[in-house]
């Protein structure tokens, strides 16, 4: 094949990217505030995706376990926090009956958040110790096991919490939105979720780059048998990493339950989002998860709003943009943007 023929997909990619950038620039000039709004929608959702996908990618990077139950852990955490908040702070008696008290203090949100995060972490640890530990290294079998677990959790969540969509209440003392100049944006999304995502990213980076635990994790990613031969208790490290990964899913679940909602089907949605993030970012890579989450969040948010061409409304086809994103990345980097061979 001649060089010119081999290069044409790359040229196509550059052309598409340029067209998207030009299109968005035009939109940015046409309606500055709307554009800012849409951009922040994308970034805050990306923050949520990042927290969830960071747990997914951490578990995968170290243990080669694709945790198909990650979305289920996310949703389960949302329900735990919702029920805890309703019972302990809103004076509710049955699980869906909101009590007389409609004000939620800051503790009334933080305590359910921490409670759900810890419970989900321990639950994930139980899955790892009880079911996955015995199948070390058999990645396909472990994926099937977590699929079975996700089927059971999803069905039990429907059985216990029904099909009603709920949402966790943010503290009533927090402002609804913040205003900068003439730009108003929801406080919870921009301050809490985006702040939490940045904090999680920085803390994970420090944990992996600066601590002994992180050093062991990095060594384990590269050469597990050697790490074990050096006297490190690898099983303990795996348990710790799985606990942390599951806690991140739980943390994201409560944030998402407050920012969006808690309801059936969200487990699948977040499993898909986590999958796309790590597929395009590169599996096992933390910077990859951040870039992947930002790309996915922005693509979703722009394609929801800006696919109007004259009178033709293509927004229902917005999901094709996600297809194109996945396909474009995989066509050039089969292991994702930051992926590297195992």
């Amino acid at each position: 094949m001649s060089v010119a023929v081999r290069q044409w997909p790359r040229g196509l990619l550059v052309a598409v990217c340029t067209a998207v950038v030009v299109w968005l620039t035009i939109k940015a000039f046409q309606g500055g505030l709307t554009f800012l709004q849409v951009t922040f929608n994308g970034l805050t959702v990306a923050g949520l995706y990042f927290i969830a996908a960071a747990g997914f990618t951490l578990i995968f990077g170290l243990m080669r376990v694709v945790n198909m139950a990650h979305g289920s852990l996310y949703l389960f955490a949302g329900y735990i926090a919702f029920v805890a908040q309703t019972h302990w702070y809103a004076g509710g008696t049955s699980q869906f009956q909101l009590g007389a008290s409609s004000t939620i203090s800051v503790t009334g949100w933080i305590v359910p958040l921490l409670f759900a995060t810890v419970v989900i972490g321990l639950f994930g640890l139980a899955i790892q110790q009880g079911l996955l530990r015995w199948n070390l290294g058999q990645d396909l079998r472990q994926a099937l096991i977590t699929i079975a677990v996700s089927v059971i959790i999803a069905d039990q969540l429907v059985a216990h919490y029904g099909g009603v969509v709920q949402s966790i209440q943010a503290p009533t003392s927090w402002p609804g939105s913040i205003t900068i100049g003439s730009f108003r944006y929801p406080f919870f999304r921009i301050v809490v979720v985006l702040g939490a995502a940045i904090a999680v990213g920085v803390l994970l980076y420090l944990l992996i780059r600066r601590t002994r635990f992180g050093m062991i994790i990095r060594a384990g990613v590269d050469d597990r048998p050697m790490l074990s031969a050096l006297g490190v208790n690898v099983q303990l490290v795996f348990a710790g990493a799985f606990l942390l990964g599951a806690m991140l899913a739980g943390f994201a679940g409560v944030l998402g339950g407050t920012m969006i909602s808690v309801g059936p089907g969200l487990d699948t949605q977040f499993l898909l989002d986590s999958l796309i993030v790590v597929i395009i970012g590169g599996m096992g890579s933390l910077p990859g998860a951040a870039i992947g989450a930002a790309l996915l969040g922005l693509v979703q948010s722009y394609s929801d709003i800006y696919l109007h061409f004259g009178s033709t409304d293509l927004t229902p086809y917005g999901i094709l943009a996600q297809f194109i994103l996945v396909i474009a990345v995989l066509a050039f980097r089969p292991l994702g943007l930051f992926g590297r061979p195992a």
Partner: protein, 369 residues
């Protein structure tokens, strides 16, 4: 002929006779809800088993592909009360051809993208594509929307599957036999042999001059052709198709069927499907009630538990359990291990798909341009 082989042929003959005479033996309900459903689910699962057994690919996109075939057909054929879809009024058989063609073309694209990834990466990519297809049909109301397409017309001779399930049963049976024969034939062709070589050692096959991604893509496309037949049959069976028929639980159901049947043999797909539909039927009637945890509505919990137990105990599924019992008996009789049992043992367990270690090679090939 050894006595064992004789027993095998006798069992096969009995199964064949029972399947041929099934409309006379079973009630209309059993024929439709258990046998017919198991046959088309078996075809879908067989496409997955084929890809795994001979190509080393665990594809979770099979249900999405059969959904694409079903939706493509449902949109172009006449829908009786024009409920959903484009309702272009094509004849049913033109719809079948169109549905299969669309599914195969899209699957070729999916295959081209996924075929450079191996093992668990392949599984994740196909699952992501599958879920995207589900959300696509949910969102695009001109083609489907969450209500789906109802009362899709069928070829005349099928009639109404609810009042007379016999014609559809024979169609599903015939399609199953054809699919089985086709796949068994393909794996013996040079293409099929090369595919198995690629499953076992991609770098070696590449250095022998085989185009590894192309072979994997074509195998995926063949699997998609088989899956799209199942999609057409499922629309005729259900008389409708909606995103709910291709959601993640259906994706997992087909995976469960293939795993329960044992991923090592094609016929396992149909055995798994019979087991699945029977379990579904029985569970809805006989499940004890334990508060909210367990009751007749909790079929997903039950099938999830069964799946979990099978994956934990016997990665080879029901066939694997049968094989283990057989091996146990053979060992008691102190027979030296034959060639067949030796290969069967090496196939036990889900073999690690050879690819992960070679993914570096394929990526550098991908970036080489």
């Amino acid at each position: 002929m050894t006595p064992l082989a004789l027993i095998g042929w006798a069992v096969l003959a009995v199964v064949a006779i029972v399947l041929l005479l099934a409309p006379q033996i079973f009630t209309a309900y059993d024929l439709s809800q258990i046998l017919t459903q198991a046959l088309w689910l078996g075809i879908a699962a067989a496409s997955l088993t084929f890809l795994y057994r001979y190509g080393g690919m665990v594809s979770l996109a099979q249900v999405a592909i059969y959904g694409i075939a079903g939706f493509a057909m449902g949109n172009v054929v006449h829908t009786i009360n024009s409920e959903g879809g484009l309702n272009l009024g094509w004849t049913p058989w033109a719809g079948v051809a169109f549905g299969i063609a669309v599914a195969v073309i899209i699957a070729f694209l999916f295959g081209a993208i996924a075929s450079r990834s191996y093992g668990i990466y392949f599984l994740m990519i196909t699952l992501a594509l599958s879920l995207l297809v589900f959300y696509f049909f949910g969102q695009v109301t001109t083609l489907s929307g969450f209500g789906g397409i109802r009362s899709v017309s069928r070829p005349g001779f099928i009639g109404d599957p609810i009042t007379d399930p016999t014609p559809l049963y024979y169609i599903c049976l015939g399609a199953s036999v054809v699919v089985y024969a086709l796949l068994r034939y393909v794996v013996r062709t040079p293409f099929g042999i090369a595919l198995q070589g690629i499953r076992d050692d991609p770098p070696r096959m590449r250095s022998l001059g085989y185009n590894v991604p192309l072979h994997r893509t074509l195998a995926f496309t063949l699997g998609a052709f088989v899956a799209s037949i199942a999609g057409i049959l499922s629309v005729w069976f259900n008389t409708q198709i909606s995103p709910g028929s291709i959601d993640i639980s259906q994706t997992i159901a087909v995976l469960i069927i293939a795993v329960i049947g044992g991923l090592s043999r094609l016929e396992g797909a149909w055995i798994g499907a019979i087991f699945y539909t029977l379990l579904d039927y029985e569970a809805r009637q006989h499940t004890p009630t334990l508060g909210l945890w367990l009751n007749p509505g909790r079929f997903a919990t039950i099938i999830g538990l069964v799946f979990l137990v099978i994956v934990l105990l016997s990665p080879d599924g029901l066939i694997g359990i049968g094989h283990k019992l057989h091996m146990l008996g053979a060992r008691r009789r102190l027979r030296p291990p034959t060639d067949a049992s030796a290969t069967a043992q090496s196939e036990q367990g889900l073999p690690e798909t050879a690819g992960v270690s070679t993914a570096s090679g394929s990526s550098s090939a991908g970036q080489g341009s």
